[in-house]
Structures are given as C-alpha cells and as structure tokens.
Amino acid sequence: MNEVIVSMNNISKTFPGVKALDNVHFELHSGEVMALLGENGAGKSTLMKILSGVYTRDGGTMEIFGKSYDDLTPKQAQEAGVAIIHQELNMCKHLSVAENMFLGREMIGKGVLDNRKMRQEAKKVLNELKININPDQTVGDLPVSKQQMVEIAKALSIHARILIMDEPTSALTAREIEDLFRIIRDLKAQGCGIVYISHRLEELAQIVDRVTIMRDGQYITDGNFKDMTMDQIITNMVGREIKEKFPRVTCTKGKKVFEVKNLNAGRMVRDINFSLYEGEIVGFAGLMGAGRTETTRAIFGVDPKESGEIYLDGQKIEIHNPMDAIKNGVVLAPEDRKKDGLCTKLSIRQNLALPNLDVICNKLGVIRKPKEDELCEEAVRNLRIKTPNVEIDSGNLSGGNQQKVVVGKWLARNSRVVIFDEPTRGIDVGAKVEIYNLMNDLKKQGIAVMFVSSEMPEVMGIADRIIVMCDGRITGELMANEATQNQILTMATAFEKKKNVG
C-alpha cells in the first residue's frame, strides 16, 4: 500500500497558441484520493488526458506502476490499468447501456459478439453500484444524470487500478453523489489510486486525502488535504486572495416585476407559480432533474407551453419563442454553454452581437460597426473577459471566459428579467465570484434575477429568496437568511408517492 503508482515529471503540452502544460509534476499513490485542483484552463483535464492516452505530450516523462511510457493510446492506457471518466459525457446515444459499457472491448463468444454475457456483466456492475438501469435501455433515452452514472459504471467495469474522475459530480443528484463517494471509498480500500477533479470545493472534505494544485499550466504545490485550509487552497488556485466567496449586497425589495401563473409544459413543468421582484435574486434549488431547466426553457419560449400565463410589470405577455421573450426584456443564459450558449466557431464579437442585432442594426438590417464595437468593448471590459481581442474564436476560450461571453450577450440590452441557469457550473472560484457580482449589479439596477443552481451553498449565499423544485413541481419557498440545507433537501426530495411506482 501507498507506493507511487503514477509519476509524471516535467510534462509539457502546447496547443496552437496555448501552452496548456508547462513542466508539470504529478504523483499519485495507491490507496489515496488525490484532488487535482485549479482554475478553469489550468490544464487539469489536459494532464489527465495525457495520462489516459488521449493526448500525446510534447515533453517530460511518465511512469505508471514503475513502467515508463512514451506514447500511449487510450487502449494501452486501459491495459496499463488507467480508466478515466471524462469531463464531458462520452456516450453513444444510439447504443444500449451494455453496448456502451463494453465499447472497444466487446466480449466475443463463438466468433460473434456475446451480447448475453455483456448484458449480464453490465447488470452485475450496475447492481454493485446500486444503479437501477436496464442494460438494454438505449442510452440516449436516459436522463443526463443516469448517463453520467453509466459512464462511471463503464470506467469501473474495467477494474482499473488508477481511476481518473474529471468533474464526475457536476451532473449527479445528491443521492447519486453519496453512492459515488461510497464507491470511491471502497476502491480506495482496495488500493486503487483515484484522481478527483472538481470545482465543488465543499465536496473535497468527504473523500480527499491529498491535493495537487495547478495554475496557468504550471504545477504550484501539493500536500495533504488535512494540512491545508480552504483559503490556502483557493489562494494557490487563483493566485490571489478571494475575500468573500459569496459577496452579498442588500437592496430594498421593490415592486413586482415578473409573474408566472399556472405554467405547465410537459412532465417536468407542472403548475408552476412564482413572482420576481425588483432588488432581489430568487434562487431555484433542487436536485438534478427537478425540472428547473425545463421551467426556464418553457418561460423563455424554447419549449412549447401547454398552459399558463406570464405577466411583466403587471401586463400579460405572450411568449411563443425566444424572440418574443427577448422583445419583452426576458432573457436566459442557458445551462449548457457548449450546446445552447455559444456559437463556438464564431468570434467573441459575433457571439456578443448575436442577440443584440436588433439594437446594433439600422432600420434596413445593416450592421452599424461603431455600435457593435462599442458593445463588444463594454462587455469585455465589464466582465473582464480574458482575451487578446474580440475576433478570437469563442470556442478557444477557457470555460469560465466562455461562460462570461454567454452572460455578456445579455447585459448589453435593457432587460427586465434575467434568468441564469447554472451560471457557475464547471467554472472556478474566481470566475464564480465575478458572476455573482454581475448578478448583484443587475439586482442593484432593479432587474429581476432568477438564479437556478444545484449547488446549495451558492444558492444560500447569493439568493435572497429560494424556491425549491422537485419532480416538476414547486415544493417550497424559503427566505435565504432563515433557510437551512436540511430544509431545502427535504423540499427537494418531496416526491409524490405515486411517482415511485412507475
């Protein structure tokens, strides 16, 4: 126990225009959970992709179980005992759970695929994890959190001795996270080495033994988790001190701005009623899959509504599509920035301008360049987007900066209601604070802010009022200053009994 099983030294990696890793040093022991921490773009994923054979390094040495490796393919890495759960979901949506789990290492019997055996094996692994999923189910039909669990099961089914988890919990429900931690502890006891990457620093205390901290592609420090304070960790990650993790400003609650009445839209949006007021941030808490995203989409007109009314400043408004919403001053910064938020092939300029073309263009629909320049410069300045200029492909920005562009798209216009869906998912502590400050600015301007988040501490830290959803319904409402984690959790798990039958 506790011998060095991975040793990476002086690892470097350059992407066109970016030095992602600069002489990085990393060590993993058997039987430990190592947290790999750092800001967005620090190079965590890149380092782990080198270890798992997805990328080749430009320089440095790498030993796994004492054997040194030059170039490595994903398959060779697997054979060396390395399994990785990637930051992004990597599932073939058209294939079944079992087919996905055994992809690339299918079992063969009598010369043909042995589907029965793979199914049995898959079932076994899923049962061990207490995941109730039929191995024959098509993966694309599963909710995202279940897909993430399949991904984890797939990695575990390899029986690897080195397991890398790159933000495994960002799409899991609280109960699933508990199960995952139990599994991690089991594996640790069996002597596996685990690399754990997460931006949810509050999780770390539950499982982590040691931490390695990176910043800007460089190794900063490592050490025992017990020996560091959270503030030290954060300072090392960000390179500066962060005074307040949840900066709160107080405003007086003004008049009612926005009201949703009896909104129904599909299974996940049932009879939703709530109001937003000037000078307050309303947090929407709940477990993954509670239907908050669907609610925001229905309000914004992306998904069709079955029934319900929406009032803005006392006037009833009709929203049939995002265009209607935007026209009325209701805007949404969506949850999945790669999928819904950004045109990654287009420049920052084009992304920032896209929803504001009505303002930027003249009556004939021709773009007024000075106006556009002005808008872009302001957004870059206000949001402190880190970029040499606005002509850069937005897809080349780090996650946090991408998120800032997504938010920045909406700040150039005079909105009345801004809906943020998981605006801080997957971004580092420093960037998080900047997003919070942004929301606070809006609040001060008297704009109604709806803030959906699955991270309890931030909802409690930033929101003035918290609405909790479960299974498509609103199950409770609390004032932030008197709410406790337990109260929220109780409301977030208030499933109707009949739901559990089907």
Partner: protein, 338 residues
C-alpha cells in the same frame, strides 16, 4: 427486466431500426399491388424474376451506402466505382485476359479508391461529401481512360464466346434453382454483411462511430481503421455491381452506374438508415432497394413518362423520411422545436 419471457414478436420489434424496416416492407407491398392492379403483367412470374434480378444491384449499392451512412459519412464515389470496375473488367477481358484475373484487378482498383476514401475521411478528416465528390470525379475519369475514352467492344471478341457466356451467365443471365444468379449473389453478400453489421465487433464499432465518434475513440475504437473498412465494403459492393453491369451488357460502358450513389442513399434512407449516422439495419436497406426497384419497374410497366416518374420518386423519398421523422420525433427526449 425478465427479457427472456418476452413474446418473440415483441422481441423482434424491439430491435433498433426494425420499425422503419417493417414500415418500408409494408410500403413495398402496397406499391407493388398498386402497380399490379394497373398492369397485371407486374404480377407475372417472369416480371417477379426480373424484379429480383434488377433489385439486386440496388441492394448491393444500398448495402455499400448504408455501411457508410451508419458511420455518419457518405460515399459519392459509388456510381463511379461501378463504372470503373465495369470498364476495367471489360477492357481486360476484351484484351483476352481471363475473367477471374480481370475481376481481381477490377476489385483491386475499387479497393484502392475505397482506401483513399477511407484515409481522406477517417484519417485526414475531410468532410466525406467533398472527399468522395473528388474520388467520384477521379474514378469516373479512370473509367473513361482505361479504354481510351471509349466503350469497350464485346468481351466475347477477347475471351471468346464461350468464356464470355460463362461470365455473363454467372453474373446476370444464368439461373440457379429457377432464380437469376444475380439475386443469389446479392443475397449472399447481404447475409454476410448483415451478419458483420449485427453480430461482430466491427459492426458494433460502425454504429458507435456513427453515434458519437469522440466517445468511440475514447473507448479505444480504432476510428480510422473502421472508417476505412466501411469504405472498403462500399468499394467491394460497387465493384460487384460493376461486374453485374458488365455481364449484363457483355461489354464495358463508361457511364455505367451513373447516379447509383444517390440510389444507394435512397434505398438506405427509405429503409430507415439515418444519414446522420448511428441507426439503421440492413433489413431496411433490403426493403428500401426493393421499393426503389419496384417503383422503377412499375412506373415503366404502366408506361409513365419520365417527368411524372421523377416526381413520384422524389415525393416518395421525401415522404418516407418525413414519416420517419414524424414518427420518431421526441425520441431521445430531443427537445421539440416549435
């Protein structure tokens, strides 16, 4: 969960892609009967034999294109490979070479085009539409060049009447158990590739690539090799069709196989193969190629004119996919768009 107790019909219907395939079969029956009611000669034994023989080439082309489509790519060079293999085989035989050797060389040259396609798309990541548009021109150019920009003479002039007859009977004119050889040939190829796609590791990888190429790669699937394999299979099937056309005509025609790549797409898509990759089964392609051939044959037999023929074919292509999209909409919880 207790899948073993399931009723067998349900089990078959549960196979992914089976629904679309069965829909195509039903459509086939309806179309066939409709034509037959207008012209009873459609029902004649000889016509059925002809139908089976003629659909064979579309089946082969359909298999070729389906393999490529399931990986989410496309092969526009299919028709040109057909022409190239027909011309190469015919030119060589007209020059006196034995059919077997000529066939092998034709096969080899198609495989070269297939490898190039596979590398361009799999390895160099060219958009398949462009890569195979290029090889489509190249292969057709070669078809023209092999015999100096003209069709060949009858192959009998080179290998002699007897050998030519043997070759032509083997691929086109001969019958086995009362059905034309062409059909048996296509069915054997169908069974082999049906098996490969549904029962082997390669088949599984083909679906995986079409569904999510990054995920497949990260799972250790050799994307380049698998992509090349699909283009090679496409080349083999195209070569066979070239040989069939060569046997049919007893000579090489430089324009042979023109537009066949599109017919292959149509056969696959009518049978439920998604051009977006990841779904479709060859049973669907079988149905699709039969639909395509029945349409062509039926419209001809009822004396429909060119114009109306094309309109009908176009409408059926659109309707087939429209039905599919409407029926399947909402699958994978795809957020419905208004």
């Amino acid at each position: 969960m207790n899948s073993k107790q399931q009723n067998p019909l349900k089990k078959i219907l549960a196979i992914r892609g089976m629904g679309a395939a069965l829909t195509a079969f039903v459509g086939l029956v309806i179309i066939y009967i409709a034509f037959g009611l207008i012209n009873p000669a459609v029902f004649s034994g000889q016509n059925i034999l002809n139908l089976l023989r003629s659909m064979s080439k579309y089946l082969l082309i359909g298999i070729a294109q389906s393999y490529v489509l399931i990986t989410g790519n496309i092969d526009l060079s299919i028709g040109s490979m057909v022409g190239m293999s027909a011309m190469i085989a015919a030119t060589l035989m007209t020059g006196g070479m034995s059919p077997i050797l000529a066939i092998l060389i034709a096969l080899l040259s198609c495989l070269v085009i297939g490898i190039i396609n596979g590398y361009l798309v799999g390895k160099f990541k060219l958009p398949p539409f462009i890569a195979t548009l290029g090889t489509m021109f190249v292969a057709r150019g070669i078809a023209y060049m092999v015999n100096g920009n003209r069709n060949t003479d009858a192959i009998a002039t080179g290998v002699g009447k007897e050998t030519a007859d043997k070759f032509q009977n083997f691929f086109y004119y001969g019958k086995t158990i009362g059905v034309y050889n062409t059909f048996w040939l296509a069915i054997i190829v169908f069974i082999i590739f049906f098996f490969v796609l549904s029962k082997t590791r390669t088949g599984r990888h083909i679906y995986a690539i079409g569904s999510n190429v990054d995920a497949a790669k990260l799972s250790g699937v050799n994307v380049v090799a698998t992509t090349i394999k699909t283009y090679l299979i496409s080349a083999v099937c195209s070569c066979l069709v070239g040989l069939i056309l060569c046997a049919q005509a007893g000579m090489g025609n430089m324009e042979a196989g023109n537009m066949y790549e599109m017919y292959g797409v149509a056969a696959g898509v009518i049978g439920g193969v998604s051009p977006l990759g990841g779904t479709g089964i060859l049973l669907g392609t079988l149905a699709g190629s039969a639909v395509w051939q029945t349409l062509e044959n039926g419209l001809n037999m009822i004396g429909a004119q060119v114009g109306i023929q094309r309109v009908v074919i176009g409408v059926i292509v659109v309707v087939a996919v429209l039905l599919d999209v409407v029926v399947r909409s909402g699958q994978f919880g795809k957020r419905k768009n208004k």
